[in-house]
């Protein structure tokens, strides 16, 4: 009996291992593709006589995730077009199917002699740090995170500026003079969003009440939904979420209210990318706008600099409104009236030419509010 039991234990373990291997298998398939094109690339390089090449490693979202990965690849493609490169000929990407693929993908691209390799998204930060350490002759870029290494350029965004502008939009859209902010985890990064948003709202009308609540997690849609439900029932009509997956719950709640009462004024402001699609319900859309980080702009810029021998290694490169690397989505034309768009543009100008200094911490925003 014991023997039988043990053999079953082994069987179950095998099953689990099989699953893991299965996942690896698929990524191997991808890798082969990428590797194939990688070697193509080296041939192409010789033919073209061009010695600069760039590649990127996606996080688990995949290349068409409508988010960072897709945007980054668009940036690389644009960079390639400018310089007569195409996929496999100077630019390339490697997809990751799980967290375990990051190091493998990075190492493979290093071996394919790419000059500059991007890790897209903060999930890749540890992998970039490790691989950059082992390969001091290759340059790396990390998007949306900071890695302190001489051969790594850290690309970050001035989220507070974008949050300020969506705050302006929220302030103009609200009818109850109450707006809400839902953060993922109460941290310096998310505080930046909160500070910008609060400042933006108060700049338009300092009597508008901003309610702030943190869900404590980026992957808790249930908490997001409950917080949103509570906020909307208190009369808040615009909620800006900076909470990743938790925000799904916010959209779910807004759409639910809209479904039950089509005339009700409920809006969500998306984050990182244009979250228009998430807000679609029947013929209307609850996504007022989104604070979009233009990863493509940043990636293209850093690539161009690197090609010209000005790779910002060891630096933290901050992209903001002045680089057009932060934008406010206007996909929802019905909701984003001309009046709002004009106001957003006005404030944008003021920020770009330095007339308004957007606060980026909670202390700064308190000062900012007092000065109004």
């Amino acid at each position: 009996m014991l023997k039988n039991r043990r053999s079953l234990l082994i069987l179950t373990l095998l099953l689990a291992i099989g699953m893991v291997l299965g996942a690896c298998g698929s990524s191997d398939g991808d890798s082969e593709d990428a590797e194939g094109s990688g070697s193509d690339n080296s041939n192409g390089e010789e033919a073209a006589g061009d010695d600069f090449s760039v590649a990127m490693v996606t996080d688990v979202g995949g290349i068409d995730d409508k988010s960072f990965n897709q945007s980054a690849w668009e940036g690389l493609t644009a960079f390639g077009e400018e310089n007569g490169m195409e996929k496999g000929q100077g630019i390339d990407y490697a997809q990751s199917t799980s967290d375990a693929d990051y190091n493998t993908n990075l190492n493979r691209l290093v071996r394919s002699d790419y000059n500059l390799i991007y890790g897209i998204g903060f999930l890749l930060a540890p992998a970039i740090e490790e691989v950059a350490d082992q390969n001091p002759d290759t340059n790396f870029g990390i998007v949306d995170s900071v890695v302190e290494k001489d051969n790594v350029a850290s690309i970050v965004f001035k989220e507070h500026q974008g949050s300020f502008l969506v705050g302006v939009a929220a302030a103009m859209k609200t009818e109850s003079d109450k707006v809400g902010f839902i953060g993922g985890v109460d941290s310096d990064l998310i505080n930046k969003f909160e500070a910008g948003f609060r400042a933006g709202v108060k700049s338009v009308n300092k009597d508008i009440e901003v309610k702030v609540q943190y869900a404590g997690a980026f992957d808790a849609p249930d908490d997001g939904k409950a917080i949103a439900s509570n906020m909307y029932s208190q009369g808040i009509d615009v909620i800006y979420h900076a909470s990743g997956g938790t925000g799904n719950g916010v959209f779910a709640q807004a759409k639910d209210l809209k479904q039950n009462d089509a005339d009700r004024n409920v809006w969500v402001i998306g984050v990182d990318r244009d979250q228009h699609e998430e807000g679609q319900i029947n013929d209307t859309n609850v996504t007022l706008t989104s604070m979009v980080k233009r990863v493509d702009v940043a990636v293209q810029d850093v690539s161009t600099n690197a090609m010209n021998g000005e790779f910002p290694g060891g630096e933290v490169v901050e992209y903001g409104l002045e680089d057009d690397a932060i934008s406010v989505a206007t996909t929802n034309e019905e909701a984003m009236t001309d009046e709002i768009k004009t106001a957003v543009e006005d404030w944008k100008e003021k920020i770009v030419n330095g007339e308004v200094e957007v606060p980026s911490t909670i202390d700064e925003v308190k000062e900012f509010e007092d000065s109004l």
């Binding site: 179950t12 299965g22 409950a226």
Partner: protein
């Protein structure tokens, strides 16, 4: 905010939080009552969420406004089939039930993400365009006080969950099938002597738990998350497992425990608007549900009596 408003804003979220937990916990009760530990509830919920979302996305044009209901039904069936793996391993092959359950958890998440990647080419699915929406129950929502508290702005699936708890209780305690199922979990040899097919009962029980967890997972996905990704189901299955134990392996007890968890979670979120609680630092409120759970498990409920034969495979003829 008046007292009634506060109560209303706590009860609403509490019930939608707990509906998936109730469903899954009832499944857990069935499985454990028959003597099979089911750590795999989490994985079965993942399966349910995955199937629910994928079916909803694929067949939206065929079923129209009935899509979410059909989706959760299909999720139930697929998860029940999926749970057979656990049954085969732990009943037929007498494997360690905990190990097999853990394998289910890995397998479900891996499979779900792998197929998502294959079918949609990205790490998460699109959002479903036809999820469940809340409704006011006709007539009942007009009752003063009780109406707004319990019958307006609710998901019908929440009532389904509560109804299932009572059905579960009736089946387990009032039918011959339930008696057999429980006897198999208490003393399988005695049950066997009386002509009950122990293996078959346990298979059925595990499949019921698969079906209920699938239902719970898909209800969660179609009311709250609206898409499927690696972070759709994170820990709900384990909370359901805690609810099973907290509820002393009784369907109604499990429901009560699940509602309690939902209430605690809801309270932690709503508290910022409640006069007395808003001065409490948010950290304490966020950990409150878990602290309350530990306290409840440690002291309040007293000794939890597990089914006697839980975790031990039955071998015909051995003593």
């Amino acid at each position: 905010m008046g007292f009634l408003d506060i109560l209303q804003s706590i009860i609403g979220p509490a019930i939608f939080f707990s509906a998936p937990l109730i469903l899954t916990a009832i499944g857990g009760v069935f499985s454990e009552r028959s003597g099979v530990v089911n750590i795999g509830l989490e994985g079965l919920m993942v399966m349910g969420a995955f199937v629910g979302i994928v079916f909803n996305l694929t067949f939206i044009d065929t079923f129209g406004s009935w899509t979410p209901w059909v989706s959760i039904f299909v999720a139930m069936i697929i998860s029940a089939i999926f749970s057979i793996i656990h049954a085969i391993a732990s009943v037929t092959f007498r494997a360690d039930q905990v190990v097999s359950g853990v394998a289910i958890n890995f397998l479900a998440l891996g499979l779900g993400l792998f197929l998502t990647k294959q079918w949609y080419g990205k790490g998460q699915t699109d959002m479903v365009s036809r999820p469940f929406y809340t409704t006011d129950v006709p007539l009942l929502s007009d009752i003063p006080i009780i109406g707004p508290l319990f019958f307006s702005g609710m998901y019908l699936t929440s009532y389904v969950a509560i109804a299932f708890a009572f059905v579960g209780w009736y089946v387990l305690y009032k039918t011959p099938f339930g008696l057999r199922l429980r006897s198999v979990g208490e003393h399988p040899m005695a049950a066997d002597t009386n002509g009950i097919n122990v293996s078959r009962m346990r298979y059925v029980a595990v499949m019921i738990s698969g079906a209920m967890a699938g239902l719970g997972g898909s209800v969660f996905a179609l009311t709250i998350a609206l898409n499927f990704s690696h972070s759709t189901i994170v820990g709900q299955g384990f909370m359901s497992l805690a609810a099973v134990i907290f509820g002393k392996w009784h369907p109604l007890g499990a429901m009560g425990a699940a509602l309690f968890f939902g209430f605690a979670q809801s309270l932690s979120i709503i508290s910022s608007g409640v006069p007395l609680l808003q001065d409490v630092p948010q950290v304490f409120l966020l950990i409150a549900p878990y602290v309350l759970t530990i306290l409840a498990l440690a002291g309040v409920i007293g000794r939890a009596e597990a089914p006697k034969a839980i975790g031990t495979p039955y071998i015909k003829g051995s003593r």
